[in-house]
């Protein structure tokens, strides 16, 4: 702050409080809705404060789910989301860090070609090539499987570039010292590179976990067996049925539960989250 202008500071506080309120409003509305019963919405006036049915609604969602729309209870769906998010995040990190290691620390024929092949994935978001990709996965028999949910999404140019960047900042002398100390490539990778990339991996993990958890189109397409439904994709199936029989309180309870894990990750690991966000855009 350059000079002390109380009016401006007050204005800034007002803007921020208003901003926080706008940003938080949907969450509040969803939470409030999830604590009422279906009939409370029929009056035409939406309640503004939490009702007494919190435990009942959430217990219902965990217990039997919304059977009318064929979605299973929340618990297994959240577990599927967790498995998918972890598999995508860890898978991306694993295959990206080894790729970056190969590209930075080795010279081999077609190295540039390999680099470009990875780079191209940036230009092919899943939404753009959805039909043929679906067909490939179907042909490989990967529909309705955890492998189908995660493996097609784990190629990552962004993560590869991030690790490449990290490796490029590690001084050559460190590699040379390790070579003189008798460390071959794999030992160097395990003993030096992995520990030195630890915070980058953690930051990336936060971003990728959110990315994986929030996948929508892909799980919606390749899962037809409720056993593999994820919560983010399941919520839509639930809302579709709602048109017939409005169960907004249950849909909103699901929405709150679907938001909770990634939001907790962002709030709890804000420092890593910001680092990950900024680094992956370099």
């Amino acid at each position: 702050m350059i000079e002390n202008r109380p009016v401006l500071t007050l204005l800034a506080h007002l803007v921020l409080i208003l901003g926080v309120a706008i940003v938080a409003m949907p969450l509040w509305v969803a939470f409030v809705a999830s604590t009422h019963t279906a009939t409370d919405f029929m009056s035409g006036r939406v309640p503004m404060w939490p009702g007494p049915h919190f435990v009942e609604n959430y217990a219902h969602m965990f217990g039997q789910g919304v059977s009318t729309s064929g979605t299973p209870p929340i618990g297994p769906m959240m577990l599927n989301s967790l498995i998918m998010a972890l598999a995508i995040a860890l898978g991306k990190i694993a295959i990206s860090i080894t790729s970056a290691f190969a590209i930075v620390y080795f010279r081999f024929p077609f190295r540039r070609l390999a680099f470009w092949a990875i780079f191209v994935t940036l230009m092919l978001p899943v939404e753009v090539r959805i039909v043929p990709t679906f067909k490939v996965v179907a042909d490989l028999g990967m529909l309705n499987s955890y492998a189908g949910l995660s493996i097609p999404l784990i190629a990552s140019a962004t993560a590869t570039f991030l690790f490449r960047q990290v490796f490029l900042t590690i001084p050559d002398e460190l590699t040379e010292a390790a070579r003189i100390d008798g460390a071959g490539p794999l030992r160097f990778f395990r003993d030096i590179l992995l520990p030195l990339s630890r915070t980058n991996m953690a930051a990336l993990f936060v971003i990728l976990f959110i990315y994986g958890w929030n996948q929508y189109l892909w799980p919606l397409l390749i899962t037809t067996d409720p056993k593999y439904y994820t919560i983010v994709a399941g919520i839509k199936r639930m809302a579709d049925a709602v048109d017939g029989l409005p169960q907004w309180h249950l849909v909103m309870a699901t929405a709150v539960l679907a938001m909770l894990p990634p939001v907790l990750v962002v709030v709890g690991m804000q420092r890593l989250f910001v680092k990950g966000l900024v680094e992956t855009e370099k």
Partner: protein, 293 residues
């Protein structure tokens, strides 16, 4: 470029194998398929396939629906980008004045990043629901009869708000970082030169923030064009009357629901071309930023 390298020809390929395999099977092969498909046309029963050259592309340019989708996408992308970047910049400028409370405000503003676009869509769908939503209730109070199921502009407003809401946190973080990287001495010098806060913003802060702004512009357009698929699908499903049928949703709809594979493939190829252009712009910018710093 590394000075020290390990001598092995086999090992790097083993290390690259998983990434290259996934890339080839799930990215390059389907993309090639899409390009090939875009030159083919299937009959109504999917029995015979004929090579039709560029006919699918020609059909797109003749299609009023596709032209409408292009227009809708442009309006949508510009509105989402302007709304989320504008609000984010305002909030970032406000936080930049804070000292002790900056962290708390930041936490309260960044969490929507973690909300899935589909969930964001559902939340706003509910808030704007004509019968049970909060906002239509308020709007009725001031005499506006909100209905995104029948009104095209209401539907567009809904998806723009839902998409922009989720993106504010991202833009906010980058604007805050951008503001912090402007040396305080510059603003101090301008203050000594007699520039007030408003003048300082227009003559010092905004020009120096332009790399961040430009970067966010590209990122937000990419976001609005591709990552908002879930917002659309969870809310309007492209309706009413194609009013929110953005390109990426149309590809999916024509391919999966309409089973019009040739046209869907041609649309995919057009979208790929758009992403390639945007990616190239983004990377050229990154190169420049590296050169400056």
């Amino acid at each position: 470029m590394k000075r020290t390298i390990f001598n092995s020809q086999l090992l790097p390929w083993l290390l690259l194998a998983p990434q290259l395999a996934v890339t080839a099977i799930f990215f390059l092969w389907p993309a090639a398929q899409a390009i090939w498909q875009s030159f083919l046309r299937q009959d109504a029963f999917g029995i015979s396939t004929t090579f039709v050259g560029l006919a699918n592309y020609a059909a797109l340019t003749d299609s009023a629906e596709y032209m409408n989708s292009l227009r809708v996408t442009a309006v949508f992308a510009v509105a989402v980008t302007a709304l989320s970047m504008g609000l984010a910049l305002l909030l970032a400028l406000a936080v930049d004045r804070m000292r002790s409370s900056a962290r708390a405000y930041t936490t309260a503003l960044v969490w929507p990043y973690a909300v899935a676009p589909a969930v964001a869509g559902i939340l706003w769908w509910f808030i704007f629901n004509p019968t049970v939503g909060v906002l239509p209730y308020v709007l009725r109070g001031i005499g506006y009869d909100w209905n995104h199921i029948s009104s095209k502009s209401d539907a567009m407003t809904l998806v723009v708000i839902a998409s922009a809401w989720k993106q504010i946190s991202y833009n906010f973080l980058f604007f805050v970082a951008g503001l912090q990287s402007i040396p305080a001495s510059l603003r101090e010098a301008a203050a000594i030169d007699g520039a007030g806060p408003v003048k300082r913003f227009w003559t010092i802060t905004l020009p120096l923030l332009s790399p961040t702004t430009f970067f966010l512009l590209v990122v937000n357009i990419v976001y609005a064009m591709f990552e908002t698929f879930a917002v659309i699908d969870a809310t309007t499903e492209g309706g009413p009357a194609q009013a929110t049928n953005i390109l990426v949703y149309k590809v999916y709809f024509d391919g999966f629901i309409g089973q019009n594979l040739g046209s869907s493939a041609a649309q995919s190829v057009v979208l790929m071309a758009i992403v390639i252009v945007l990616t190239v712009i983004q990377f050229r910018w990154v190169e420049r930023r590296v050169a400056y710093s």
